[in-house]
Subunit: 245 residues, 2 copies
C-alpha cells in the first residue's frame, strides 16, 4: 500500500470542523474522504494531524491516506483540487514511508490567531480575525504569555472533561506582534488540548484590556480550574498554521 | 445643510454593484441610503464617486450626502458601522464644503486587480483574486501596459454603447508586480469607462500568456472596436482602491 501525505489549506467558515461526523458531511475530513473515495473507487480513510473546531481555518493541516492506486502524485493533486470545494485546497501531495502517521508522529504544531484591534471594523478581515474595538496592551500580554512557556498541566485552559489522559503540554514559543490594526498571536507547542488556544486567547485578551493582572495566568495554572480562565475566543481568527514532524 | 463625505470599504461578493436598483436592494448605495434614512428619519440620497460593477470590491470608495442632522461625525460613523452589514464598512466620515460632489470633483481613481497565478489555487484569496494556472509573463505585460499610458480614445476597451459623451481618458500610471503567487495590477487614471479595467485586464492576460503580441494593444486602440479586445475579466479580483480629488 502506498502512503500519501497531504498538506491542506481550508477556510473553515462554513464547516463543522475537521472531524467527519455521522450524518453531517460538512466537515473537512468528510469532504476529503468523499473525493478520494470517488477517485479510487473504494472507501478511503483520511488521518489528520488532529481536529480543528468548527469555524477554525488551516494553512498547513497535514493528513495521510493509504491506497493501492497507481495514479501519479500530480494526478492525485489535480484530481483533488478539481473536485474539492473551493474553500479546501490541497497544497502538497507526497509519498511517504508506510510508517508515517499524521497524528501519532506530530512533534509540534503552530497556531496563529488574528485580532483586528480598532473600533472601525474591516470588511475584508472579518471572516479571518476577531474584531475587538478596545485597544490591547501588547507588552502586558507578552509578559503574561511568558508564564505559559514550558511544560505545564494546561487543564485549566481547556474544555477537556475528566480524563485519564495527560493534560500536560509544552509550549515552546509564543509571539505577539502588531501589523497595522492587526494583532497577531503565534503559538508553537508539542500539542494543544481541546479549545486550549482559544481559551488562552480569551485569557490574554482580558489581561491586554487590563481587566486582569499578569498574575492571572499563574492562578489558572495553579488552580487547574477551567471556570476561572477567560472565555473561549470565537473561532474565526484562528489558523492551524503548520504541523512539524 | 451639512455635506458629509464618507470613505467606504466593501466586499462586493454578494452585491449587484454600487448603484441602487429599483426592486433590488442588494446594492452598496441602497444599503448606505437605507441606514442613513433610518438614522435621520427622512430620505437620504448618497452620491458615489462612480459605480462599481457587481462583484467588484472597494477599499476606498468615496460618497457624500446632505443632511440637517446635528449628530456628531463620530456618532454618524458609529451608527453606520453598527447598522450596516459586516461586508460594508465606513472608514472615514468628514464634514466638507457644501460644494463638494463625490462624482463631479473626481481628479483620478486608482483600481487594483489581483491574479492568483499558480496551478494550485488559494482557499483564502479565491474571493479576492482571479485564479489563473498558466504562468503570466510579467515583462511582456509591462511592455504592453506602457502603450496604454497617456490620453487615448478607450472605446475599444469598454462596454460603452453608442454615446455622445467623450470616451477619451488619460491613464497616468500602470504598475504590474508579483508578490509570491499573486500578480498585482494597479491603474491610475482620470476616469475609466464602463468595464474598461476588466477589459484591459483580459487583454493584458492574453499578452502575458503569449496568445497575443504586445502590438495587440495598438490594434485595439486604433480600431476602436470592442470585439477585437480581450475578454472582460470576472470581477472578484478587482478593487476600487482610492479616489483622488
Amino acid at each position: 500500500m502506498r502512503n500519501i501525505k497531504l498538506i491542506i489549506e481550508y477556510d473553515g467558515s462554513r464547516y463543522s470542523g475537521w472531524q467527519r461526523l455521522k450524518g453531517a458531511d460538512e466537515t473537512i475530513q468528510g469532504k476529503l474522504e468523499g473525493v478520494l473515495t470517488q477517485m479510487v473507487g473504494s472507501p478511503i480513510e483520511v488521518i489528520g494531524s488532529g481536529r480543528t473546531d468548527a469555524g477554525v481555518h488551516a494553512r498547513g493541516q497535514v493528513a495521510n491516506f493509504h491506497t493501492k492506486s497507481d495514479m501519479s502524485l500530480k494526478e492525485i493533486h489535480k484530481y483533488m483540487n478539481y473536485y474539492l470545494p473551493q474553500d479546501i485546497v490541497v497544497k502538497e501531495v507526497k509519498e511517504v514511508s508506510e510508517k508515517f502517521h499524521s497524528r501519532y508522529n506530530v512533534k509540534s504544531k503552530k497556531y496563529v490567531c488574528y485580532i483586528w484591534n480598532h473600533w472601525i471594523p474591516s470588511a475584508f478581515h472579518r471572516k479571518y480575525s476577531y474584531h475587538l474595538s478596545e485597544k490591547l496592551d501588547i507588552a502586558l500580554m507578552q509578559e503574561a504569555s511568558e508564564k505559559l512557556l514550558g511544560t505545564h498541566d494546561f487543564i485549566g485552559f481547556s474544555s477537556v472533561k475528566k480524563t485519564n489522559k495527560s493534560t500536560t503540554r509544552t509550549i515552546k514559543e509564543i509571539t505577539i506582534t502588531k501589523e497595522g490594526n492587526m494583532v497577531i498571536f503565534s503559538f508553537i507547542g508539542d500539542g494543544f488540548l481541546y479549545n486550549m488556544v482559544r481559551i488562552i486567547m480569551g485569557t490574554l485578551i482580558e489581561i491586554g484590556l487590563k481587566q486582569k493582572k499578569v498574575s492571572y495566568i499563574d492562578e489558572i495554572l495553579e488552580s487547574k480550574t477551567r471556570s476561572i480562565a477567560g472565555k473561549t475566543l470565537s473561532p474565526q481568527g484562528l489558523f492551524l498554521e503548520e504541523v512539524y514532524y
